[in-house]
Point group: C2
Chain length 189, copies 2
DNA sequence: TGCCGTTGTGTACGCTCGTACACATGGGAT
DNA sequence: ATCCCATGTGTACGAGCGTACACAACGGCA
């Protein structure tokens, strides 16, 4: 036990890394930049995270909790009587409605898994986690499809500058869910 | 007129850039690496593309045509009697079935728009183009939703190592399309 | 034919990067 | 009390980067 001087050093480095990625993107992340942001010497970052991939894994894992927190704040998602499509659309709206840098950050880390195999298990974990959560309301196939559609909707909102449209999201999510959910209220666009 | 020595120099640089991104990712793209790949001097790349963003825009624009080519090879997409969901699922299968580096490359460039505003119009153009194409078979809302869902399905196939499942894709795409398409044939799952 | 400006090339500068490695420090086992 | 080693720090090196800029080459115009 007892990390000698600074037991939270490692955590502070992760936090700093997330701030750096948020401000300058993954491209701007380096042992030096994160050391400066965390106000620790260069050697300290290389000591705790020998490679940048390790740091990214830790950062992604922590960033994922941002979305999880929004989800957790919506207990209605687990209520079998609630309008699932509407709840999901609202969750996305809240998440996307937060400051853009936070959302960009989480997505950038998530998408970085495309090229960095080290991140892929973490990204997969996340997708699986959300799918599992949804599986309590629908079958596995539908759950996976919902995750895919939500991913696609977010992507389009972020890549193009078309603003998020909650009504649209609710409508198409409801189509994927199919008949069982109470998707009768609310307009067809 | 007359580019003096090498009128195709610019195009060869773009091709080289695409190869570099395919092999080493955007992170590995530099004026030098692309110069080496294209077998032209360093100054030549900086002359034709003052900034890397310019080069990426050209590369993304060209890479987009890869998907467009697959789409063009499926005239059934425009046939109002064909099974739209099935056709789309098949197109995705063909595209994802090609060599992974090509697909990764197109997606990496596409996703890079998240952080590089210069790429955003090009990415938006692409999404809009596909949506327009689909609009000839359905309404605008459904078309957008289909693009989103296809994006999400591809993303999951690429980010996690779950292989692409054409039957699954067809099923959930059909749900988004709704009743009108001939989605009655073929099994639920 | 001879000049000129567009087009293309080579080199060098200053910067940031990952990495390595020798050195400090102090808690815990003896 | 002493020693050892996990933990933390500072510095230096070589590589690769974007950029700048002086210079070469040649087609079009006079």
């Amino acid at each position: 036990m007892s990390r000698r001087y600074d037991p939270e050093r490692r955590q502070r480095i992760i936090d700093a890394a997330i701030r750096v990625v948020g401000e300058k993107g993954i491209a701007g992340l380096s042992h030096r930049s994160v050391a400066a942001e965390a106000d620790v010497p260069l050697g300290s970052t290389t000591y705790h995270f020998a490679t940048l991939d390790e740091l990214l894994v830790a950062a992604l894992r922590q960033a994922n909790e941002g979305f999880a927190k929004v989800v957790a704040a919506h207990p209605a998602l687990a209520d079998p009587h609630a309008d699932l499509a509407g709840e999901l659309a609202r969750v996305l709206g809240e998440w996307l409605g937060g400051d853009r840098t936070g959302v960009e950050l989480e997505y950038e880390l998530y998408l970085a898994a495309l090229r960095r195999p080290a991140l892929r298990p973490v990204a997969a974990e996340w997708a699986e986690g959300v799918a599992d959560l949804l599986s309590r309301r629908t079958d596995a196939v539908t759950a996976r499809a919902l995750v895919a559609l939500m991913d696609g909707i977010c992507l389009q909102a972020l890549l193009t500058d078309v603003p998020y449209d909650e009504g649209y999201a609710r409508e198409v999510l409801a189509r994927v869910i199919g008949r069982e959910a109470g998707a009768d209220r609310g307009g067809r666009r």
